[in-house]
Symmetry: none
Subunit: 305 residues, 2 copies
DNA sequence: TCAATTTAGTTGACTCAGTCAAATAAAGGC
DNA sequence: GCCTTTATTTGACTGAGTCAACTAAATTGA
């Protein structure tokens, strides 16, 4: 039986968000569409080829009411409907070019609306809000498949993100002191200050605007690529992101003609070591250290290319 | 300018939550009240003695429509309305005993509804969902924000935050390239790596768990304190945070026996320069540079202590 | 001090979003 | 082959919510 305080907190949020959405949704008055119209067109745009009955269920609309909306959309040539070959009773809905234009117009207006709201926020607040939205969605709608993480090159702010998230992680999980964060900052700072795009790279894993992971390749000289600062956020572990990042490093290093990749890790990072081992890295040395407070076991691994 | 991926994530969540609330709100069909009725009674129950005009604004309801609902509630003896002594046009609304009973009945039904949903979740998930709701509320609801920022010493992750937010800010506002972010990372990294708590400090301005500003004092040798990386987030400007941070620096530097504070800034940072001038700093040198791409005018200021 | 304007709330008239029921056509089950 | 169920459509309707005009009270400016 869930704690009453949690329930009341959820209800209070729901009252707040009902108002918040009410404010956002008033904007549809600037278009000829009602909110429900927009929801319908949008859903057809997103899952092109949807079944009308499924649409009514997804959006919790009265089928009779939806039918009228769809009829009007057909008349306005925003969508096309055709009988499902598998079941002549059912209708398959697809968006037309004209409908796609309208869909994009609605999308732009909606984007502008959220942007206007998010632009008033402090740096980090939109990310924190969206990360929280991802959390709620994942809990309340487990069937919704989270979008796959994409991997992209670094851009402004990412190096700072690397420093912040890894600094915080190692402090909280392993009790490492701030010298570690300082080292990460210096390493990452040098990477940017002396960046050689021909032989060095930084990959960022991201989903829905939220950074989830990172890794760098730097030029160690003598044909050796250095794999540094591999990290996957706790919330995104087990999804194969770490492996994807390491695979990118290996492919890049081969492409750039390095003869070997070398990396330093600590033995308590089990998931990372497993990735390295499966990728063919071998352990070449090991040393205990207290560089950041608690005693730890540093390891150097290499992969011949 | 907020990242489009964040905006689209927020919109997707809004579509999902519109449906989720739609499902919850259908439950009102089991009572004689509409959703709007319930929102009205609930809000009067929560802020007993509310002004009718304020209620209409808070709930974004047409005053004519609200008037009819309130009339019906008066007839059903759920609420009482009396003219505001301060303004006879205005009505003060209070809930009656009967209304309170109904308010609690609605509350119970709503609690049961959320409980039914939360009880299907795994252990810890309701807590995680509600924590996420608090996060969203705290960010999006200006009224929920504490007005004042607090200033605290740095902790794990803050240096990364400084690198990220300033790196992004200078890139977006002034077109500086990533070498600036690299420099900030190195400076801040050295600060942590060689930190002398007796003579150096980092202050962070924070509100509601979100960082809003920062500044460092480092030991420049020869009795000179260096003021570095002063920054206030766009969303928090004009609140006096910058001045507070600079004041902290001056007080600390005097306490630690420095003879002078020195700092380097760029002339386009007008607000920062105004703070320095008001604090008594004087301009001692100036030089044009292209360290980070576009040409800029660097300035060194000092304050004798 | 007074007239004009604005504000708070109410009532009349109305629109149309959405619901319910009955209809038709197609599919499924026995 | 017949009965039941499902998908969709259309007719009729309700009532949530909007807009305008009204009254009473407060504010503003001359």
């Amino acid at each position: 039986m869930t704690d009453i305080a949690l329930i009341e907190s959820a209800r209070e949020f729901n009252r707040f968000y009902t108002n918040f959405l009410g404010l956002l949704n008033k904007a549809y008055l600037d278009t000829p569409f009602t909110l429900t119209d927009a929801r319908v067109l949008f859903e057809i745009g997103v899952q092109n080829g949807v079944n009308a009955g499924a649409l009514a269920r997804d959006l919790q609309l009265d089928p009779a009411y939806l039918s009228r909306i769809l009829k009007r959309f057909r008349e306005e040539e925003l969508i096309e409907a055709m009988p499902d070959p598998a079941d002549q009773r059912s209708q398959i809905l697809t968006i037309t070019a004209k409908g796609r234009t309208q869909f994009e117009e609605l999308g732009s207006r909606s984007n502008a609306q959220i942007a206007a709201r998010f632009d008033t926020l402090a740096d980090g607040e939109p990310q924190a809000a969206v990360a929280a939205m991802h959390t709620i969605r994942a809990i309340l709608d487990p069937q919704a498949k989270p979008a796959a993480a994409t991997i992209r090159p670094h851009r402004a702010g990412d190096i700072g993100w690397i420093v912040q998230s890894q600094g915080r992680f190692y402090a909280e999980e392993y009790g490492w002191d701030l010298r570690f964060e300082g080292l990460v900052a210096e390493v990452a700072g040098k990477f940017l200050a002396n960046f050689d795009p021909e032989r060095e790279y930084c990959w960022i894993a991201e989903r829905g605007g939220i950074n989830l992971g990172s890794v760098l390749i730097t030029n160690g000289g003598d044909g050796i690529a250095k794999l540094r600062l591999l990290y996957v956020d706790k919330a995104a572990r087990g999804l194969g992101i770490g492996k994807q990042l390491v695979d990118e490093c290996i492919a890049f290093s081969r492409r750039k003609g390095y003869r070997q990749i070398s990396l330093w890790t600590n033995d308590f990072l089990h998931a990372a070591r497993a990735i390295y081992q499966k990728a063919g890295f071998r352990l070449v040395s090991e040393e205990r250290h207290r560089m950041f407070g608690p005693e730890a076991n540093g390891q150097t691994w290499v992969l011949d290319l």
